[in-house]
């Protein structure tokens, strides 16, 4: 048995015995559009995983991980999805901040923050976007000033996922001037539980709320809580985005397969599977899913060879667009039923949520248009956009 298969079967065995008893009811709970579902119970489940050493498996052993290879990490995500285990709550810390600290943090920062991420005792949120800094991230206005005992942060973030559940926020703030807008930015770690931080939930198109506005008003953080050099935060922020578009998306095709299979099941039951046009669209979705998997495998092979290449942007555009289209197919499979929300106040079913929430996939972590700019300029070598 290859080491990946050994890893896979070990995790599968653990999941099978782990997802029982009090945790059995958590199967399939949570995820995009449903982050509110059983949050406390999912947190308990994730701490249970941590106790058994099944969080942060891709981190190096010296930082509390298992040093899992990329293949093993894919196996991990596949098994997790196959078991229908609940959506993760600590993924932002585990997959975005953790690797960033491992790459750019000081020893003291790693010692302070990695254990809390691994044990799921501290949840993190990502404070990048602002009302005037979305795609144009370098335009952040939030300021941080250094004084005798640390940093004072003032400004507004927006679309901050899970800020209402998080103890900490990693954010980009302006700390100085630079000739170029990318200069003078710093990457700061800020505690959320303090008087200078206010979190206001934003209702989403599903009626639920997973992201927030976050207001910082002279919020405090320690002098040591800047990652990388002050003024050099852009590089660190970009590295985090790389993690966001890279490995963390490798496992998701298993969840996609589950959705597609469930949709085909519905189509068989309600007669949509007899409609030649819908059959074609379902087969097209299946084709796209195989391609998502092969794209991911190529990205893996490239990353293993030390050069991830442009596959990350290809993968992001491809899967995000695919998932959005799956939502559209789902509504046509549902037919007239899809118009009605079952029950008050606004209780959407899985297909309606997929249809609505998948619109976000082509926006967050770099919109399709921004990925196209990246490909056109950095891969195809076309002239840069005129910039203000």
């Amino acid at each position: 048995m290859s080491s990946t298969e050994k890893f896979r079967s070990e995790f599968r065995t653990w999941l099978r015995s782990g997802l029982t008893g009090e945790f059995a009811a958590l199967k399939g709970r949570g995820g995009p559009g449903r982050e509110h579902e059983a949050f406390a119970e999912r947190l308990a489940w994730e701490r249970h995983m941590a106790a058994a050493g099944w969080t942060c498996v891709g981190w190096p052993r010296e930082f509390g991980g298992r040093g899992a290879t990329l293949e093993e990490q894919v196996a991990f995500h596949e098994e997790y999805a196959l078991a229908d285990a609940p959506a993760r709550v600590g993924h932002i810390g585990e997959q975005l901040l953790g690797p960033t600290l491992i790459a750019f943090g000081t020893d003291a920062q790693r010692a302070r923050f990695l254990p809390g991420i691994r044990s799921v005792d501290e949840l993190w949120c990502q404070g990048y976007s602002e009302p005037d800094a979305g795609s144009d991230l370098a335009n952040v206005r939030t300021r941080a000033e250094r004084d005798a005992d640390g940093w004072s942060v003032t400004g507004q973030k927006i679309w901050t996922s899970l800020a209402h559940e998080s103890q900490w926020c990693f954010l980009v703030a302006r700390t100085g001037q630079g000739k170029r807008r990318h200069e003078g930015l710093s990457y700061l770690l800020v505690p959320m539980d303090q008087p200078g931080v206010e979190v206001r939930p934003i209702a989403q198109l599903t009626g639920t709320s997973e992201f927030n506005e976050v207001f910082f008003d002279a919020a405090r953080t320690g002098a040591d809580n800047v990652v990388g050099e002050p003024g050099d935060g852009w590089k660190v922020a970009m590295a985090t985005l790389g993690f966001e578009r890279g490995v963390s998306t490798l496992g998701q095709q298993v969840g996609f397969r589950r959705e597609l299979e469930a949709l085909i099941g519905l189509a068989r039951r309600n007669g949509a599977a007899d409609d030649p046009l819908l059959r074609d669209r379902l087969a097209r979705a299946w084709t796209g899913l195989e391609i998502i998997r092969f794209n991911a495998l190529r990205m893996l092979d490239g990353a293993a060879a030390g050069a991830p290449g442009p596959e990350a942007s290809i993968g992001k555009i491809y899967w995000a667009t695919w998932h959005r289209e799956l939502g559209e197919v789902a509504m046509d499979v549902c037919g007239a039923d899809g118009m009605l929300a079952d029950g008050a106040p606004y209780d959407l079913d899985d297909w309606q949520r997929l249809f609505l929430f998948s619109r976000a996939d082509t926006i967050y972590a770099g919109s399709n248009e921004i990925q196209r700019n990246i490909i056109a300029e950095r891969v195809l070598g076309l002239p840069k956009e005129a910039r203000a």
Partner: protein, 361 residues
């Protein structure tokens, strides 16, 4: 799914040879200097003992230049049909390129094994074949014509594969005038032509050959689409309108970025099928159908973008754009259309087709 160093060497060798020898004249050097015809033939039959991944590399390169050589028809279709049939006597001559082969297969525009109507009847002097075959790649007679002619025909026991000796009576070959001028096809008519049975298990043989053919063709489509993209990117960087290069307009850039996503995703699909073929995966049929449908659509779209972004010169006879566009159309229909392959996928993953489309109000 990564190419090794030996694949890169093969790629470089084929590419530089195609740069030195244009058109059909490349076939001699390709077979003699690189041995492409025998790449996927086991060593005991005079080949190099390589497999689908090497075929993939060669097909990508042939696609880039739209090389009008009989690789697909001879080295893939005829050779793989013989290998699948276990009839190996003719392989050495195909492997060293001293002759080429053709597989007479499609009827009435279909490559489905069920569509074969040609009949083989056993008489005193052996088998006799009667029927009409279309779209036979490199199947016309004359100098470049195939020396080894294989024919799929139906016997009382079912579908089977036959070898019709060259020069046999009752065979007429007529070249089609193809829209895509870079891939010759022929109509072959058999009127009681003498034949020798090479494989009784025709359904299995043709299904397997179809999988390998779709896989190889998908790789060719990727190579051709990639070349379209390269040529188009070069053009939009040079061409100036409104005082700037048209490649600086986002409407153009985004179109090309999407083309890039299409080409690379098509390559993922084609590679997935090639690797599945290499390891003998039981899922090869599905991956081949995925690759053929996705690569056909990608090549067609990118070749269409190529014309659009070249403006007026894109629709001239002199510019290569139309050759790619026509090849895209031809290879999209060859061995089954994208929708046809999706229909096969739907049969497997959605289930059998039901009574009708009542829901289509």
């Amino acid at each position: 799914m990564r190419f090794g160093e030996e694949h890169q060497e093969l790629r470089t060798a084929v590419r530089s040879l195609l740069a030195r020898h244009e058109g059909a004249a490349a076939w001699g050097p390709l077979t003699q200097q690189i041995g492409v015809a025998g790449l996927a033939v086991p060593e005991e039959y005079g080949g190099a003992g390589c497999g689908p991944v090497e075929v993939h590399v060669v097909m990508e390169e042939l696609g880039r230049t739209l090389a009008p050589v009989p690789y697909l028809g001879s080295a893939v279709l005829a050779t793989q049909a013989l290998l699948a049939a276990g009839d190996t006597g003719l392989l050495p001559a195909l492997a060293d390129g001293s002759t080429t082969g053709a597989l007479a297969w499609a009827e009435n525009g279909s490559w489905r094994p069920e569509a074969v109507r040609a009949r083989a009847v056993r008489g005193a002097g052996g088998w006799r074949i009667t029927g009409v075959k279309d779209h036979v790649l490199d199947g016309a007679g004359g100098s470049g014509g195939a020396g080894v002619l294989l024919v799929a025909a139906r016997t009382e026991a079912g579908l089977a594969l036959f070898h019709v000796p060259s020069g046999a009576d009752g065979v007429s070959r007529e070249a089609h005038t193809t829209m895509d001028l870079t891939r010759p096809q022929a109509r072959l008519t058999f009127a009681g032509a003498e034949a020798r049975a090479v494989g009784a298990d025709g359904d299995r043989i043709l299904a397997h050959v179809r999988d390998l053919a779709c896989t190889a063709l998908a790789a060719e489509q990727v190579g051709a689409a990639e070349r379209c993209l390269e040529l188009t990117v070069a053009h939009v960087r040079d061409r100036v309108q409104f005082g700037r290069s048209i490649g600086s307009f986002q409407a153009v850039k985004h179109r090309l970025a999407d083309a890039f996503v299409r080409v690379e995703s098509a390559r993922s699909a084609a590679l997935g099928a090639s690797w599945a073929a290499a390891v003998g995966s039981p899922d090869l049929s599905r991956y081949a159908a995925v690759a053929k449908s996705a690569c056909s659509e990608a090549f067609s779209a990118v070749a269409g973008d190529m014309i659009q972004l070249h403006g007026g010169i894109g629709i001239t006879w002199e510019h290569d754009a139309h050759r790619y566009f026509k090849r895209a159309h031809g290879s999209s229909q060859l061995f089954g259309s994208p929708a046809g392959h999706r229909d096969r996928i739907a049969g497997a993953v959605v289930g059998p087709r039901g009574p009708g489309a009542e829901r289509l109000a």
